[in-house]
């Protein structure tokens, strides 16, 4: 039961429109710093573009996708009209206003501080306020997800919360809490300086606050993808979810252990002691657990589909899968990229291995493979799957959809594999220009060129994606029927309270954050003599 289709479509369209712009900027950046581009005489333009690319891809695009998908889940999984539609529109317009407010100073070159902010560099105050508005808009969504679940519980006391909604609400809580780190950094530290009320800032403390957000935000980006793995893919390929409880355990684990691990981003930082670095390293290893469980459950669910279709043998069933179905293709690509990206992530998680690739192009390659690859390709699949239900029109061109997914997969591999490689060679990040004439840098020229070509393949795929959706708006009308989620092999009739509610896990999430972040933050906040003068960008 999808009633508020306009609301959901508005979120999706805004998401994909800004995605298209940021993708174009990304491809341009790949080109301009590669040997095939000519030297950009004003490097500041590169950092403007990079700030816009990061801000959109990190904050605006995935948040809007999660919101659109979340509203769709709430209405269709709970079979209940969305409560608080006006608030939802208010959230949407806050995000529009925030994005516009942030993008103007970026375009004027007044906020080229990158989406990771990097104080004591300070940009125009409206950039930060715009980001805050985007986050506040998304917090309305968090509240609405919680309210809608509560309304449903009242009407269905004791009934198992549908898996999709259970996971969706877990994702919203994760986002609400992880955004607090950057919010504290912005509100307590950066905005007072940007507004001219203060002139000094503790850069070390700011980095710790930001690490609070920076890692768990990745799991917020990941949530729609994992929800699609568990609740859409098995239905779309004619299978069943292998285990409903294992799915719930995975989402709960993400909620609890995604948070207290962010300091692995600060392994190279002098303001964090060795002890907390080790604790966060160990917790980072733990966050691989829900992914390992997911890989098992989804492979098993897919095998069920294959065997129902007549697949036989130890591996023979793989051939029986519906490979012409875009959802099947997207899942396979997503898993391959998740495998490589995850393996790279295990290297980043220890101080010892991180030292050889910390802040090199390896890291850029890593998160593009995980986020741009494994996660975003499932965003495409979610859109393809939902579109007929949202527009009331059929998406007919399956071949074009398959081509688009293939191109995205190939483009992402061609972009990120050489990127990892030059990272191992020690190529630093966020450089507008490389002197490929230097004999020590010249051997990296080929890899950087390959990455740039990959960037163009991605751009082509992104354009195809938008074209497919736009054409879907004008296709002949067809009733797609009610939107359904996958059923489990053993569809639960009762679920233990711990796997049906979030309170305990939210408490654990907050508790672990306090134990893993409380002391380092207090220690830095209370020590004096660590605030340094702000350095304003774009002031000249």
């Amino acid at each position: 039961m999808l009633v508020n289709r306009k609301l959901i479509l508005a979120h999706f369209w805004l998401a994909f429109a800004v995605f298209g712009i940021a993708l174009t900027l990304g491809a341009w950046q790949m080109f301009i710093r590669s040997p095939i581009g000519t030297w950009l005489s004003n490097p500041e333009l590169y950092y403007r573009s990079l700030t816009a690319h990061g801000t959109v891809m990190g904050y605006v695009f995935p948040t809007l996708v999660a919101m659109a998908f979340g509203y769709a889940i709430s209405e269709s999984a709970l079979q209940q009209r969305l409560v608080g539609v006006r608030w939802a529109w208010a959230g949407f317009w806050l995000i529009v206003a925030g994005s516009v407010m942030a993008v103007i100073p970026i375009a004027l070159g007044r906020a080229s501080v990158l989406y990771t902010f990097y104080p004591p560099l300070i940009g125009n105050v409206f950039y930060y306020l715009g980001v805050v508005l985007v986050v506040v808009g998304s917090w309305i969504w968090v509240a609405l997800m919680s309210v809608n679940l509560r309304v449903w519980r009242k009407a269905n006391p004791g009934a198992p919360v549908p898996l999709a909604m259970f996971a969706n609400v877990a994702g919203s809580y994760l986002w609400a809490w992880t955004a607090v780190g950057a919010a504290l950094e912005l509100l307590l530290q950066i905005i007072p300086v940007a507004a001219g009320l203060k002139a000094t800032i503790d850069a070390g403390l700011a980095r710790v606050f930001f690490s609070w957000t920076l890692h768990a935000i990745v799991y917020f980006w990941l949530m729609p993808t994992y929800i699609a793995y568990y609740t859409i893919v098995p239905r779309a390929i004619g299978g069943r979810v292998y285990s409903d409880s294992m799915a719930r355990i995975s989402f709960i684990l993400f909620l609890v252990v995604a948070m207290p691990i962010g300091m692995h981003h600060t392994f190279g930082d002098p303001q964090v002691g060795a002890g907390f670095k080790f604790i966060h390293s160990a917790f980072t290893a733990l966050v691989a657990l829900p992914t390992l469980l997911t890989v098992f459950t989804i492979c098993a669910s897919v095998e069920i589909a294959a065997r129902l279709r007549g697949g036989r043998g130890m591996f023979g069933w793989i051939g029986a899968l519906p490979w012409d179905n875009p959802m099947m293709l997207a899942l396979a690509f997503s898993f391959v990229m998740l495998g490589f990206g995850g393996a790279g992530g295990l290297i980043n998680m220890s101080y010892q291995l991180d030292a050889s690739i910390h802040n090199t192009q390896w890291i850029t390659g890593h998160f593009h493979l995980i986020f741009g690859g494994a996660i975003v390709i499932m965003y495409f699949a979610i859109a393809y799957d939902l579109w007929p239900h949202l527009t009331g029109r059929e998406l007919i061109d399956l071949r074009l959809m398959r081509t688009q997914l293939w191109l995205w997969f190939i483009g992402m591999i061609v972009t990120t594999f050489p990127w990892h490689w030059v990272g191992i060679l020690g190529m630093p990040r966020r450089m507008a220009y490389f002197d490929f004439g230097d004999p020590a840098i010249a051997p990296q020229a080929l890899s950087v060129t390959l990455s740039a070509i990959g960037g163009f393949i991605l751009l082509a795929s992104g354009i195809m994606f938008i074209v497919i959706l736009a054409r879907g708006m004008r296709a002949p009308q067809a009733d797609a029927g009610p939107y359904r989620f996958a059923l489990a092999v053993h569809q639960p009739t009762t679920v233990p309270v711990a796997l049906n509610t979030h309170a305990l896990w939210v408490a654990l999430m907050i508790g672990l954050t306090l134990t893993n972040y409380g002391y380092p933050i207090l220690n830095l906040a209370l020590s004096s003599g660590t605030s340094v003068p702000a350095v304003y960008v774009g002031a000249q």
Binding site: G204, A300, Y351, A355, N359, G426, Y433, A440, V489, P533
Partner: protein
Amino acid sequence: MSAEETHHNSAEVAARVERRWATIAVIIIVMMALLAAFAGIHRATMPQPRVEITDPSRLHLSGEFVESNLGSVLEANGNVTVRAIGQQYSFTPACIVVPADTPITLRATSADVVHGILIQGTNVNTMLVPGYISEQLMRFAKTGDYLMPCQEFCSFGHEGMWGKVKVIDKTEFADRAKGGGRLSCVGQ
């Protein structure tokens, strides 16, 4: 066997397979954490043990990072200490000279914004955060020139912030150190 029984059996098999996988996953994770701890202790690759602070606006006036104290110095025990600062958009010294096969302590900080030091071809890699002192132990097996880019965005000139490390023979370094003072590639 009735259909119900088959179903019951397969459910048991499913639960067993699932448990087995979960156990393997947990073992993998525990192993990784243990390996990291072992590598850290056994190979002595640990982050700096303590947090030290310094005032970036007074670096040039007094203390450890005044200009005359930057560069490499041969300590009485034969080890070498290198002191350096990063600022928009260069390192001082821009070219660091060190001996091969010698334990070296790098102590560095930033005079303005966040920078980073990365020595290509090695795992020497640390952030420079203004207000804090970064310390890293290093040892070069081979002589030669290494590029040392700033690895963190430090505003518009970041792409031009490249330093160098010159690793020279141990005896040659000792000769040059006889004159006292702080060594860099300058005056070689």
